[in-house]
Symmetry: C3
Subunit: 115 residues, 3 copies
């Protein structure tokens, strides 16, 4: 199966196609002054962009890992998540707390999707 990589920087590719599956990097917001809701909105918009580039979309997400830097932010993150996901095509998901690379990054989401 062929591998196609998108948006490759010095450390990683933001999306990697492998056959019928696409693996995204952990996505964080760029505007780190926003609160958890604003950051989550930016993250899911970027996931939409990357999935489209890789021939997929949010209705095809298979599994998501969500790291929040404070587990008490989970409810606010979930508000944005619930508005964003396709309610008829919900992925598997884990949401746990972890310190992220930038102390001002409040949420990071990494998904695997079908193409």
């Amino acid at each position: 199966m062929s591998i196609t990589r998108h948006d490759s920087g010095p450390l990683l590719s933001l999306a990697v196609e492998h056959g019928d599956t696409v693996y995204l990097a952990g996505i964080v917001a760029k505007n780190l002054k926003n609160d958890i809701k604003g950051q989550t909105e930016e993250v899911v918009a970027e996931i939409d962009r990357l999935l489209a580039k890789a021939g997929s979309n949010k209705s095809k997400i298979l599994q998501a890992t969500i790291w929040v830097n404070d587990i008490r932010h989970r409810a606010a993150m979930n508000e944005v998540w619930t508005k964003w996901v396709d309610p008829k095509n919900l992925p598997g998901r884990a949401c746990i707390e972890a310190k992220l690379a930038d102390p001002n990054a409040l949420v990071e989401i990494m998904v695997t999707a079908a193409r």
Copy 2:
């Protein structure tokens, strides 16, 4: 390849089939008054149930991520894990510490399996 989702709630699906692969959500116990061993037993029983629903079983697990809310619980979790897994068909695995959504949840396990 077709996608089939099982046990979908408001936030996520507990299991998602994609071709020959099945992606589970991170599973936590419902009875959070149990100790780490009791919670792990409930988690692996639920994984058994979900894998069966998706046409798989524990002998086909490919990769597992295990979060414990206190890394000192790893040994007790491993006792249950070792009794549960198919010793001839062990998956790849990572076990790390993380705060989980509910402070009384002591362990969360997310697996990917073959069908």
Copy 3:
């Protein structure tokens, strides 16, 4: 699709082939007296060894999860990562902080690759 497991111990297999995909365990260094750079070098060498055993190599890595036990070690880990990865074939990646099984383990890396 067939499943082939490599280097299976009491708890896990270090590598699992499933069709065109290979799932590795979270890899930590054995020499835990080394600093973050030394430990990362040992981890990526072990990943190279396991990928080769499973018919893959670092140019085919699809997604990597990197746990560091202190997020301030990320820059030093990245120095080793950048020298190691194939710059024309970079994987998706997330790097977060987590306590690992051994308090002296500074980094753990789990990858999924194409075969």
